[in-house]
């Protein structure tokens, strides 16, 4: 592999962000982070990451909105997005699909599952 894949991790809980970042870095990814919806959108626009892991409950702008805006923009709509949330209700999964998210993962998350979903989506690009 020539370049490390770059992932954008959007999570407002600092400790959670740190944990997931360390896990992803240990698996050989380069990780960019954002802590709110607006920052997530700005970083996605500037850095064009290979994939975005997006929390739903975020300050300023929620994850659904960020996802919807990115998927509606032809310049960014090819970036796969995994929604990441503590809410395991079926309705959330449906909403995630409606706003165009490529996958969904619940907290407490299974690291293996997260890594598998990431590598699947990256391969399918």
């Amino acid at each position: 592999m020539a370049d490390k894949k770059r992932l954008l991790l959007v999570e407002d809980e600092v400790d959670m962000q740190e944990m997931v970042r360390m896990r992803l870095e240990a698996s050989g990814y380069e990780v960019l982070v954002a802590s709110d919806g607006q920052e997530a959108l700005d970083k996605a626009h500037q850095e064009k990451p290979d994939l975005i892991i997006l929390d739903i409950m975020l300050p300023k702008m929620d994850g659904y909105k960020v996802c919807g805006l990115l998927k509606a923009d032809a310049r960014y709509n090819k970036i796969p997005i995994i929604m990441f949330s503590a809410r395991a209700q079926d309705q959330d999964k449906v909403t995630a699909q409606e706003v165009g998210a490529n996958d969904y993962i619940c907290k407490p998350f299974n690291p293996k599952e997260l890594l598998e979903k990431i590598s699947n989506l990256l391969q399918n690009r």
Binding site: D15, M19, R23, A26, A86, R87, P111
Partner: protein, 384 residues
Amino acid sequence: MYKFLFCFPIIIVLCGYILWLFIKHSKDRRKIAEAIREWEMTFDAIEDGISIHSINFVIVEANVALCKLLGKTKEELIGKKCHEVFHHRCSHISSCPLDKAKNSRGDESLEIYEPVIDRWVTISVYPVCDREGKFTRAIHVMRDISERKRLEQMRDEFVSTVSHELRTPLSIVREGVSQVSDRLHGEINPKQEHLLSISLSNIDRINRIVAELLDLSRLEAGKLVLKKESIDLVKLAREVVLSFRLLAEAKKIELRQHFPEGTLEGYLDKDKITQVFANLIGNAIKFTEKGFVEVIVRDKNDYIECVVSDSGIGIPEEGIPELFSKFRQISRQSAPGEKGIGLGLVITKSIVELHLGKIWVESKLGEGTKVIFTLPKGSVIYNI
């Protein structure tokens, strides 16, 4: 003249007797009047709303508490049909306990929200029979339980919020421990690994408790909506049984299955029914030391019957009714393995009942346990 003198005492005795009768009669009348007054005062002093109904749903008597509860006078109630004043409907509701009591001839009760008065109430109906055993009247007791409902709702919201808030810190702790244990950040020695693995399994235990609490609070708040679809129950049961194969082999327990040939369509929520099977089979294996665990799915024409039985420790007779109540775990000390807080069966029962099925337990101490539940067939839409 002599004759008259002879009659005189008889007349006196007769007059005395009539006088005595008269006094006794008025005393009795006073007693009866007093008894009626006492009964009326008692009737009106009771804090539950009580009324007496004819079998044709007409209110013949009502106490003060009922008038207060409904915001009406006695005159406005008596002579009216109960569904008119209680529910503002021209016929009785489908779950009307009075209607049920007419058929069952026994006491019936119902918990219901009455939008007309904006209160939660329990309605209990007690049939009154005459000397020939004919059902003539019914005592109708309406109790305001809004305050209890409000407290229950507060408790459910509290449980839901707390368990929700616990998830994030728990998953952070779990991830930290599992990264060190996965050697993501360097080698660890066997002692360290052992400690971390104990920590991990206990974090998972808290996670399961939190998940159970969340499930339960959702079920109780009525927020859990089933996603029903036509699915093959045989395939579903076979898959769940397969997922328990390793666990059963590790305990040297024979895992039997009896399914009909071909498919058996049910109109069900796949994830929730999988949870029911997993919970029951998991329990059966947990409480069985040797012998077998057996899973049966049967076509009963109108419905599907499922049975999960085992040759385990069984349940004492007095423990069976407690099985489905919250936070109970019979013989806690002899339940190794995955520990919960005894909510699994409560959740299982709620799921089966949401599917309009029934669930019950047959067991004898030392002779194993049998859990039977029923589910609707095909894509029949039932109306409650």
